[in-house]
């Protein structure tokens, strides 16, 4: 089961876990990205490309599901304004065994960082600033190339 959700609501992890665990497989891995509070950011705002975002996330989830024979893959990404400590993104994978769930979870978040049309704008003090893309994210995504 693939579940993709993009919206302004806070991410409810208990509800998401219930969905991803429903198949009663042995292993569930998750990754949650949060707005950090240690670097002076007061607000983070997420812009996205409606339609294209969901399609890109569904494609990443489908690729992971096929590669690791997942029972379930979930990607929930928040958009709009959020504050330090709030969840930006939650990904989860369910599989029969832990190796598949863990690897697929890392794959989902690595690929999401480079393949899905989201843009972060953070406010430190008065001035909002668009976050720059990181070369490290491209490298992290590239390590999953199969060729």
């Amino acid at each position: 089961m693939i579940r993709i959700a993009v919206g302004p609501e806070p991410i409810d992890i208990a509800a998401e876990m219930e969905l991803v665990e429903a198949g009663e497989n042995g292993a569930v891995a998750t990754f949650t990205g949060l707005v950090r509070s240690d670097d002076g950011v007061s607000t983070l705002e997420l812009e996205h490309y409606p339609g294209a975002t969901e399609a890109a996330l569904a494609e990443v989830a489908a690729a992971a599901t096929e590669r690791w024979s997942l029972a379930a893959a979930t990607i929930v990404h928040r958009v709009g304004p959020m504050r330090p400590g709030e969840r930006i993104v939650f990904v989860a994978t369910a599989a029969a065994h832990r190796g598949a769930a863990l690897d697929a979870c890392a794959y989902l978040i690595d690929r999401l960082k480079t393949d899905a049309p989201f843009w972060k704008r953070e406010t430190r003090g008065a001035e909002p600033r668009w976050v720059e893309a990181r070369a490290a994210d491209d490298q992290a995504a590239a390590r999953w190339s199969v060729d």
């Binding site: 812009e47 490309y49 339609g51 049309p117 704008r121």
Partner: protein, 86 residues
Amino acid sequence: MRVRLLYFAWVRERIGRGEEDVDPPASLASVADLVDWLATTRGAGYAEAFGDRHRLRAAVDQRFVPLTAAIGAAREIALFPPVTGG
């Protein structure tokens, strides 16, 4: 050939709008040609948004493509900075 253009993040801010419909001349072959045409025929905001081609990304009909990609029969072309989600 009418095509819808979408702009995101600082591309949107510099241009001053998030979307518009345009009629590019038939001579434009690639997305890069379209970007050149916009930067030279429109206001200063366009020139500023498209000034650094290395920081520009594109999608044609919601698929990510390199700027060298053909426009073809595209109905929707999006121009934006490198993505920073997750």
